[in-house]
Amino acid sequence: MTAVLDAEELSKQYGRRRALQDCTLSIPPGHVVGLVGPNGAGKTTLLHLAVGLLQPTSGTIEVLGSRPAETPAQLGRVGFVAQETPTYAALSVADHLNFGAWLNPSFDATMAEHRIDELGLDPHQKAGHLSGGQRAQLALTLAIAKRPELLILDEPVAGLDPLARREFLQYLMESVAEHELSVILSSHLVADLERVCDYLVVLVASRLQLAGEVEGLLASHHRLSGPRRDADSMPSDQEVIEASHTERQSTIFVRSESPILDPAWTVEEVSLEDLVLAYMGRATDARGARRSSMRPVQ
């Protein structure tokens, strides 16, 4: 099957600032992909490249087997909800549904109207007067009603209160189940994605740090704690992601496909948040004062 997103050495530069560097990534279809990273990591750049709002400086990107925004048909296959869910403030909710129908041959107007009704939105209300949550729901409705194969959402819940956040993600997941969509959504908070995504991409400081199915990633990462030990002395099949030490004890975050058999270690399962934080920490260290494997904890 064609990858939903296939990037080769993808880079984007704004003047001298590198927003994305040498990103090679292939995401198989049928996943809800969480794209995580701190603010300014390059998430929006990657997503804008994927929907054709940006052109790469170097490297290539294909989405659903074609160059993004290459043809109107290709545009129709990808739904996009941009950051801060921009809408036309002076136009009404009903106007937005017309907009979707007029600009997309595949638009499912019945479904969109039904959804607006379900949300309790007044079709005559101007989009500029909607709350952030309602606007996000409107934008999501538009994106889903065009019946895309892939839905891309850029920080869709960042500005929403917890209740709106839950409703938004709930509708998203219902639609995914109903229409068999692939989804890529970004967030700087892992907690937002934990319950919905089954594939994780971590982007830090404009570089790809980690990509894979959540289940596999969780199974292959372990937090080891035991007597103090230099991280450099770990076995070669155990990649050290992050290590911290006290006078007597070491806590080492490793990636290992094989089980940890050394009885000196207490092996802990890791959560998605642990995983992301460990990779973010590593990337930040590598960027700052060159990585030191001995990071004392006071």
Partner: protein, 348 residues
């Protein structure tokens, strides 16, 4: 996409249509009265063999306010179109981020721009064209008594030139919005560029579109001939007869000798001593056929000097209108092309 472009433009289009209807009603009512004034005053003048000035004044003094305001309106409207329709067209979408919504629907960016430019651009030209047409029609009685439509001030008000101005102002507004990406600065840039372009074409381009007709005539003593003295010093100028060619655009009317020089002050002082030393020397206003000595003075000047009239004849009026319109519409098309290129290659 066309329907959506209309939906976005609906309010502005309604405002413009409403304004045009109001203007049309006002011009229809006042216009018919103006025609009545013309008919009656010209008829009376002819019957009474009165001076033509009386007939002219009857018409030119009717609706003075409208006669002053309408040309201003026709000149200002293209600028308003550029500022309020052109500049925000793309800039506002870039500013609010709604372009990210528009450019991810099943419509290519080029088509998106093409339709927006088409719908609003054609509306701009239609609005400016209708306004100019109405004002041209309304002014026709005035033009009959004071035929001066080739003069720089009326040329850009009557006829088809305003359509070109509207197209240019609109296209410049869109381009500025696309390049600057912010509405307010784009509006300001549009105003400056439009005023600059209009002045540049009026004063530097239009006079050179066709080489003017030069007529060389022997000096005749008639209305307007005389000597004037400059207000600052003792410099004297010989004034040619005033010319009145209906609807012609007079560049210059000069009194020169064979080598192209005007009569010098010394020459006039010696040739026209009697005139100048008559009563107190004339200051600031021409001496028009004064009683004593002028025919001799005139004879001496006419022996050495002749009159050269440089002008564009009235028959070239429409050629100039088409040139002017083509220049501005052409510039608008170039700007539109730049917009497409920029949207494809630079807005990334």
């Amino acid at each position: 996409m066309i329907r959506f472009a209309w939906r976005q433009f609906r309010v502005q289009a309604a405002v413009a249509a409403g304004a045009l209807v109001v203007i049309a009603v006002v011009l229809a009512i006042t216009g018919s009265h103006l025609v009545h004034v013309y008919d009656t005053s010209v008829a009376t003048c002819k019957a009474n063999r009165g001076s033509s000035a009386v007939c002219v004044n009857a018409v030119t003094n009717t609706y003075r306010f409208l006669q002053d305001a309408l040309p201003v309106l026709v000149i200002v409207v293209p600028a308003l179109i550029g500022i309020f329709w052109g500049a925000p067209l793309v800039a506002r979408e870039l500013e609010t981020g709604s372009c990210r919504l528009a450019w991810t629907q099943s419509v290519s960016r080029s088509r998106w721009l093409f339709v927006k430019l088409g719908v609003v651009g054609v509306s701009s030209m239609v609005a400016a064209g209708l306004l100019a047409l109405m004002v041209t029609g309304w002014s026709s009685p005035i033009e009959k008594v004071s035929p001066n439509r080739f003069s720089p001030s009326l040329f850009s008000v009557l006829g088809i030139a305003p359509i070109g101005y509207a197209a240019f102002a609109f296209a410049f507004g869109v381009t500025a919005g696309l390049l600057i990406r912010r509405t307010l600065p784009a509006m300001a840039a549009t105003l400056l560029a439009f005023v600059g372009a209009r002045l540049a074409v009026t004063y530097w381009v239009r006079p050179h579109l066709m080489s003017p007709v030069k007529t060389v005539m022997a000096l005749k003593q008639s209305y307007g001939t005389g000597i004037s003295q400059s207000s600052t010093g003792t410099g004297l100028t010989f004034l040619p007869p005033s010319v009145n060619i209906p609807n012609a655009w007079i560049y210059s009317n000069e009194v020169v000798n064979r080598s192209g020089h005007a009569p010098t002050t010394q020459f006039l002082q010696s040739a026209c001593r009697a005139v100048l030393s008559g009563s107190a020397a004339p200051v600031n206003h021409p001496v028009r056929n004064p009683n004593s000595g002028f025919p001799e003075c005139f004879g001496r000047v006419a022996a050495k000097f002749h009159e050269v009239l440089t002008y564009q004849p009235a028959s070239r009026y429409w050629a100039f209108q088409w040139y002017e319109t083509t220049i501005f519409v052409g510039a608008a098309l170039v700007l539109a092309g730049l917009c497409f290129w920029w949207l494809r290659h630079r807005v990334t």
